[in-house]
Symmetry: C2
């Protein structure tokens, strides 16, 4: 039986996690290509593999070429190949961007916040959103995802963008709320540690219930005394006052309209 | 050595968790008082204890009386006692509200989102914010917290209110972000499960870094193409469009000003 071989273009956060997981799963990596000399050395050393400069024509023995570079750099790549499956790993870039590179193209987007310094943390689950120009390519991406133990869902461009937007609310905006919380506590030299059990518990509760069911707090209870006292504490920060009011209004609207 | 005995007024979420943890830690519960007959039966059955109506004068053999009723009901309680330590469990009610009840008063506020249906989940950590009218009472509350395995910090009224505000950002507002994320996905019948690994990872990363360091996303990167495409997806919801813009602006301001 033919075993899948992959090649990867890119040496950033996504490339680190993919190379590590492919190596761990015994998937052979034909070539890794990067643009900078520094990235070349870093990757060669970390993963004990040969790393090369991006060529114009990719005719190595891999079945799947994974482009894991910045969103904006994908369309700048001047590469071509024969009938190899070529995929990018972006949440927001159209599949069609790859039209000139190969006849078999796809998207293999990891829905996770990946940092190159924690690529070997195996507790991090990485679900993939996949899309392809034909069914045979789609099956290849499903297999690739499965072979590194990841869940996947098929998602066309509009769906992928919607899920990316949902991830911005669930991850980036949530993190900003924690960051404001941390900064409020810092004013009184109180450690964010005191809040962490509350955060851990709120995640744990998501196992059994939806966030809509789990909503609590003064805005939900329409507890205007508490909200007034909070706004008084925020009076020196116009920015956070606006956020407090608008998010509270949105909670009221969601749960009482 | 005299072992501490507690009594509790209230049969709601906080009372459930406290009774369970006191019983588990071998702290004896002298009396539990509630106002409604239904709560009386429920508690008596769940914890195999005698539950009584709230009397006017509390002269039982407990050392500490814990008032775990709604914020607004605390000042309505027409009770008195001798020199027993009387504490309430609210994040937003002043210590002075208890002035007429006893000479020894305090606050024993659990900084956690507690539901009566998960009172026996021992994985839930409950840090306490404590305050008291004198040092002897403060020591009693520290001991009480320690004996059920909880962390505590001493916090006067202003500090307690600030921490409560920080908790609203970290917990209630965060949950609302998850809820919007869930509702966006529901539009396309996609399960929130796909987003959960991202949420779990974001919490795990808080072990080593502050949320300020961990911020990512299009607003941080000032990626206006992605933000435009997100706003286009949100165009049918004025409410979420406003939230998206204001939170994104706040992220930019925090990280780039």
């Amino acid at each position: 039986m033919h075993k899948t071989k992959v090649s990867i273009i890119g040496g950033g956060n996504v490339a680190h996690h993919l190379i590590y997981r492919f190596q761990t799963a015994g998937i052979s990596i034909s070539h890794v290509y990067v643009r900078s000399y520094a990235a070349q050395n870093d990757l060669a050393e970390q993963f004990n593999i040969e790393v090369m400069n991006v060529p114009e024509s990719i005719d190595d023995d891999s079945d799947i070429l994974i482009i894991a570079v910045n969103d904006d750099s994908i369309s700048d790549l001047k590469i071509s190949t024969t009938d190899k499956l070529v995929v990018h790993t972006s949440g927001n870039v159209s599949l069609n961007t790859l039209n000139n590179i190969s006849e078999n193209i796809g998207v293999f987007y990891p829905l996770q916040s990946l940092r190159s310094d924690n690529f070997d943390d195996e507790r991090i689950e990485i679900p993939f959103l996949i899309e392809a120009s034909n069914n045979k390519s789609l099956r290849k991406l499903e297999d690739l995802s499965g072979s590194i133990g990841s869940d996947f869902i098929q998602a066309d461009e509009d769906t992928r963008r919607l899920i990316h937007l949902a991830a911005v609310f669930a991850h980036n905006f949530t993190n900003h709320m924690w960051s404001i919380s941390d900064q409020l506590l810092n004013k009184e030299k109180i450690s964010f540690e005191i809040i962490k059990p509350l955060i851990l518990n709120s995640i744990a509760q998501l196992r059994d219930r939806s966030p809509l069911e789990l909503q609590t707090g003064p805005a939900l209870r329409k507890d205007s005394n508490t909200m007034q006292s909070h706004l008084h504490l925020l009076k020196e920060s116009e920015d956070w006052t606006v956020l407090y009011k608008i998010i509270s209004e949105s909670i009221k609207k969601t749960h009482h309209d």
